[in-house]
Amino acid sequence: MSRPGFVLEVDDRTPPLVVHEGLGFRLESFPLGTRVVYPPESIPTVPDVEEAIREALLHPHDSEPLPALLRPGMRLTIAFDDLSLPLPTMRAPDIRGRIIEQVLTLAAEAGVDDVHLIAANALHRRMTAAELKHIVGERVFRSFYPQGQLYNFDAEDRDDLAHLGTTDKGEDVEISKRAAESDLLVYVNVNLVAMDGGHKSVGIGLASYRSLRHHHNAKTMVESRSFMDHKHSAMHHSAWRMGRLVKEHVKVFQIETTLNNDVFPRPFDFLQKREWEWSVKDQATMLGVRRGMSVAPLRMRHRMFHDLRSVYGLTGVNAGEVEAVHERTLQKVHQQHLVEVQGQSDVLVMGVPYLGPYNVNSSMNPILATCMGLGYYFNSYRGRPVVRKGGAVILYHPLNEGFNQLHHPSYVDFYEEVLAESTDPAVVGEKYEQQFAQDPWYIHLYRTSHAYHGVHPFYMWYWAAHAMDHVDEVIWVGADRRVAARLGFRAASTLADALEMASGTVGSSPSITYLHNPPHLLADVR
């Protein structure tokens, strides 16, 4: 059976450990005494996926079974998570497609013929036809896409937005009009990490800027401790308030899925094994991969990594009322990700991998890398941050991938113009967010091309706000110095140099913790 996660203390028998850094990884020898947090191994999966889905649809939590909610002549909308989940992309068939097929079968049996499928991409980029097809599957795609009943949500289409009112805290709730005016809204999610799902699905995935700005800002993010723990996350509190308001207007049937930790397919599976347990074959593969990558041009490495498709196993599928479902979902997520860590340390080390939610089939630009390290990974804690207040964070990433002009046009300008002026999330938000959010050119690109919304880079920067507020020093190992400086950070060539640089903040023999992810983990800091 699977072993739980654990905390390794580096001693003289510990081999060099894998640290991800963009389109590659390195083997790093950590100082003696460094704590290394390993995620649990993959937990058991459901024996039969189709059966599990059917079971969930027919026996939902706090809700009538799905067939009972379906009737002829109704308006049914199925919304689903976009390509930012899971990471890496799941090998076909995607779990969302399998669920949607079953939902559609039930709907057809019930005689429902007004069905729309909407990708809940909020301000993310529009997915291409191929990307949509990958998520919903060939059959669904063929039946709905040409008719225009399968499409990306457009948060700037004023005619297709409905303002449902404001929460008791005065937050606007504005979501897709089609979804809001449906008789039933089925949401199909992939709950990869603890922050996903719940009221965040509809309340954020189908919302417009007008609604999102209430919780996607620097202040809220600093107060989300952490956003991987919805009970202590100001962002989630806001989303929950909005979700409850949505519930008053439209019946939401939430279907949440949880996955195991099989992130790396063969032959890269050695990356999710513990280094001292590598077989001869694993070591040979590792050597071969490293040698290959050292000579391969960036473009080829990019292709190699981005062509990876994960062979996730389904650990659970729950359907029904949002909050009841989400509670069960979180149980599974925690079972897969949670690792108990005793106390904070002075230094937190993290390797930023090649992929984050916003660079699927794209490039990990410096802003996304920051968001990935200081946003997602830093916030992978429950209770207290892994690093103490005023400590140091050391990240690994070369910051050399540049920007994808098609997907991230506003990022380039954010980097060149906004960050050049200030890197303080509160300051840049105050001064520039409106301007970027309302820029007609960015809106044009978001609506017609495949660009993230103009305001999106600000959100990435807010994601990192809590970390920037919490620690005193951020050092990137192996990064382009000029880029790091533009981001407001420093760069070091080795871990030893980085620790040397951090010694002013944390002393010359700091306690160090290395979060050994991916695969995903959630540090439960006591």
Partner: protein, 766 residues
Amino acid sequence: MAERLSGRHVLLTGVTGFVGEALLHLLLSDVPGVRVTALVRPKGSTNAAGRTAALLGKPIFAPVVEAAGGVEALMAARVGVLEGDLADVPALPEGLDAVVHCAGDVSFDPPVDEGFRTNVLGTRDLVRRIQELDDPDRRIHYVHISTAYVAGRRRGSIPEGTVDHDVDLEAELAWGLAQRRQIEHQSRSAFVLERERRRAERAHSRAGMLTAASATEAARKEWVKRELVRVGTERARSLGWTDCYTFTKALGERVVEAHAATARVSIVRPSIIESALVTPHPGWIEGFKMAEPLILAYGRGELPEFPAAADTIVDIVPVDHVVAAVVAVLASPPEVGAPAYFHVSSGDRNPLTFRQLYDNVRAYFDEHPFAAGDRGAARLPDWRFPGAQSVERLLSTSERAHKVADYVVGRTPRSDRARELARKLDQQGRRLEFLRRYLDLYHEYAQAELRFSDAHTLALFESLSPEDRERFAFDTAVVDWAHYLREVHCPAVTAPVRRMDEARRARKRNADLGLRPLSGAGVSTGSTTTGSAVAAFFDMDGTLLSSNVIETYLWLRLREQSGSERVTELGRVAARLPGLVRAERRERSAFLRAVYREYAGARLADLEAVADAHLTDHVLARLSPDAVRRIREHRAAGHHTVLITGAIRPLTRPLAPLFDHVEAAELAVDDRGVCTGYLAASPLVGESRAAWMRQYAADQGLDLGSSYGYADSHSDLPLLEAVGRPVAVRPDVPLFRHARRHRWTIVDWASSTSTTRTLNPAGDLS
């Protein structure tokens, strides 16, 4: 001597020149009794008196001016001004005692007609005016400043006497003056024009025929200039002179000698005049003379060798010796009919060899190197004096290598490396040109194994009283060359260059590289105010995005085809590629037409659908972020933004929101909506862009002079020239050169080199 000259009235020509100025200074400060009238040519809006006053305002005249109580007082008392030109000498004032003629063309390679006009005709007119005044009781003493090198290509010792030759003065003069007319005529012949036009069209036809035409005309004028120099030099050499300068100077002496039969005439022949030894102050020099460019080039490490023998004599005299000798000559007029000749030279009694010159100059630069560059002191070449022939070989080999490299660079695809190479090559080319010009020019002088006897001059010097010898020193034997070169001449010559380098360095430090932000534009907001007078014109392919018409063609057409069709199509286009590249070099519009021909048979509606569905990504992914930011900056500043492209309309659609107007090519269709393969109108390339822009600007009320243009290739030259603020974006080599020459802004808008633009999660897109 001052007493002998006291009360005399002397007319000076050429006071605005180096020798004339020194002479005026010496007369004013050390010969108090003499009165001077200067023959000065008005220049521009400044009249002769104004120029003279400006001259007297120079620092060296400060003591005399102060003693006289101001420039006006000095001019009223001692310096008269006669406004006039040697081309048309005015009547001379009454009561003249002497005339010193220092004016003349001092360049070694004047166009032949100018050489004759100033050195022969000017002298003859002046002499005629003197003859008008001359009367037997009061003979005017005419002092003619010539050059020692009138001896031409003779060898050995040259006496102070008439140069022996029997050239027909009148015939040569008539020939020389007629040359300009004749060569101008000749330059318009089909023979010359055709060659120049072909060359210009090869280089500029992509930009358009008018651009090529103006380049042809410029080349013709250049040819006339070169030819005038060439025929002069050839004629001079055929008669035994080094160049047109010495030839016309020698003929000028003949004019003077004819006058000498009935008048008092002295001829002073200085050799190479350089900076002052003592007066007005050590190292005083005006402008660059003969040796300075070479000294400076050597100091910069750019003169690798010199085509002289180590033991050849360089005959240099300080300018104060020359003018002191002239004053002494003035004070001792010769008899009528017996012209006196004086060599003011150093080679006979105090010879300076090239080897010594080199050693001293090198020693100077070793001690005081040019260090203004950002790479420390220049490396000084070691001269081994290998002889003229091997220097010539070295130079012509370098020239050939440069030519080959230039050809290659001109045809390399654009890249930062090609531009950097072109920049270096151009620098090298300028150096080679400099070397070629000066080595050709000085070759003769470096070979001249002449010893100018200065016995007369020495005798004149020795006849002076000891005080005069002190005050009017012109015994060149006293010059200590090591001291003169290292302490006096080189510091004086390099000082202005050092100042200039310093200024340039300061400028460079403060220089704002790249684009200046537009006024009134912060972070772009995209808001537009219409009706503004300023516009920004953008070229598309290569400037805004890294794509070209062939690539987009393939993107469009391959979409509709199956696998095997694609391979065939790719192969067919690949086979056509060399021809297309040739067409592109020749003429942009022919190239576009050839490519658009390929669209024949496609349904326009299909093309547009494909363009909308897929090419949007293709275009946007290749878009340069800097370009977009700049366009948006223009819009935020309220400028009118215009896209001009030879690409077809559907391709511009993704960019349309950025522009107030998009001018693109339209494919012609037949009544079934099928493309004919022709364009609805001529493609807008080269000069037709400029014409269109002028028309458009007139219609919209735009001010082209304060408008911006952005383009990347030589064929866009008319577009850039039509606006007041042109910007070259990642230019190709010819445009890069043009932009550097005209100090246009050059920017490097890198297009996204994203590795991901073709990747897709689900594999193949289609």
